[in-house]
Amino acid sequence: MTDNSDGIGGLTFDKSKRTWPNEMNIFLALVIIVVIFEILGQLLPHMRGQSFLFDTKDRFDGMFGLFNVARLQIIILQVAIIGIIALGVTQVIITAGIDLSSGPLVAATAMVAMSFGQTELVNGNPNPKALFGTWAMDLPVIVPVVIGLSFGAMIGAINGTFIAYLRIPPFIATLGMFLICRGIALWWSSGNPISFPTDSYAFIGSGMMPVVWFILLAVLFHIIMTRTLYGKHTYAIGSNEDAARMSGINVRRHKITVYMIASMLAAFAGIVLSSKASTAQAGMGEFYELFAIAMAVIGGISLTGGRGSIIGTVLGAMVLGVIRSGFTFIKLDGSYQLMAMGSIIIAAVVLDQYRQKSRT
């Protein structure tokens, strides 16, 4: 390709003037935040010169030996499960929608799936938290996973149907589903926790597995959103729904698919979370829906639709993870963490709007 192959009618385009991608800004912000914590670690008297990012114990453990691998792992692990939800929320927001039901759906799915993933005997005694009879015990891991994902798909289909066919605003439809799902989570086992999963169920969320799932799903949905028909139509609907409809896209069916995918991702997050905690409780996943939205927003998504990316959301998740880890590192109270996260969400949107204005 020649340099001017993207111009038409004799006009050429100076590629050096191309604006750099929005994701680059978020990455820069991430780097700046890390540097701030690094400096604070060196300067604050009570820190005694500890490093945030680097391994100061001079261990040689492979190519990442320079960095504090344990901290990096914890940063990603802390955001991985909400990050999985955020991948779905990103797609919903790109269609100019919103999904508030994902947090309670995490809890409801955790309850539903875990009740089919319990082990029959705990240390030779019957499972004290057994919800069903022995028929539901020691089932192959595929059973609770399929049941959990199907439950999520059903909730998403209901959300999508109300939004696409009955024209209920997404905020209202998913707010209703928010309460319904929390209710389902409480009703499922009359408020009792469900515990003692089978070994294979416990493996899903063990160790670094949540991070593995997060990265795999992020790569998968990055490809889907950037390279497939589904992704293009998702952006088109959020960008101009009427244009999408007039172009022959089945907007209603597509919206239902998007909400189903988002809810299945939240359901999967519920499975991973219950597996990681080895227990499912009705109160799980509190505020997850809001943190997932926050990740997408920090990642440069536009709530009016059409703009945003999976890469941005992953970086947004990392920003939240680094802040949480950094505040723990400099031994500041959790209350400051919340205030800082809130400020950063607002700052991200303000900067983004300023950037949008200055470009046009």
Binding site: I8, L11, L229, Y235, A244, I249, T257, T360
Partner: protein, 261 residues
Amino acid sequence: MSDIILETKGLTKHYGGVHALNDANVVLRDGEHIAVMGDNGAGKSTFVRQITGVEQRTSGQIFFGGKEVNFAGPIDAREAGIETVFQTLALADELNVPDNLFLGREITRFDWLGPFRFLDYKAMHEATMAGLEKTAVKIPNVKNSIRNMSGGQRQCVAIARTATFASKLTIMDEPTAALGVQETAQVENIIRTLKAQGQPLILVSHNMRQVFDLVDRVIVFRRGRICADLDIKNEDVSGEDVVAYITGAKTQPQFEDENAA
């Protein structure tokens, strides 16, 4: 006659008690460019909306390509070969030029993947460049999102759809209403290109100079009825005459009785 592309018989549309369009009989032949003129609320856009299936007519018949058609929606009309450039641009702002041109009819690979089949960006890019080449549109970078483009460029992209997907009939509803001088010239160039290629066109316009420059025949609407059908290429018709028909100072004899009421 086989060269008639579009024919309407007694096309009528009532909005409740408002008779927006009454008994419109229009014939469009292959390769012909006609303009639809009239005052605001005269029924021009209503006429277009009935043909393109955006609205459902109250009564009357539409024949397209020799067959009677009943479009359930604009998608049906487009599949039949009617490309419409709407007054409100049907473009997705956040997408780039090829994405917009191919919206709803993307070139894909691995079609067995269903909704997750892959887009063939390269093929769409090449087809876009070829399509835009024909229209002489000037766009510095087709990979830029539509949001960053001028009104004229956006309008050209909307119109270039028809050039890229050789359609049987193009309808433009006031394509230059919001454009500057140079941009208007660009759009008019595209229309001339379509004329040279023998593609029939219906142009809704308020711009007298543009109409006289571009089209073969003018149909004037007044208060929901056709009041004149003027062959401006072959007959001696002046701008003043057209204005007289639009304002109601004159009515062609063959439309007299209908307008008597």
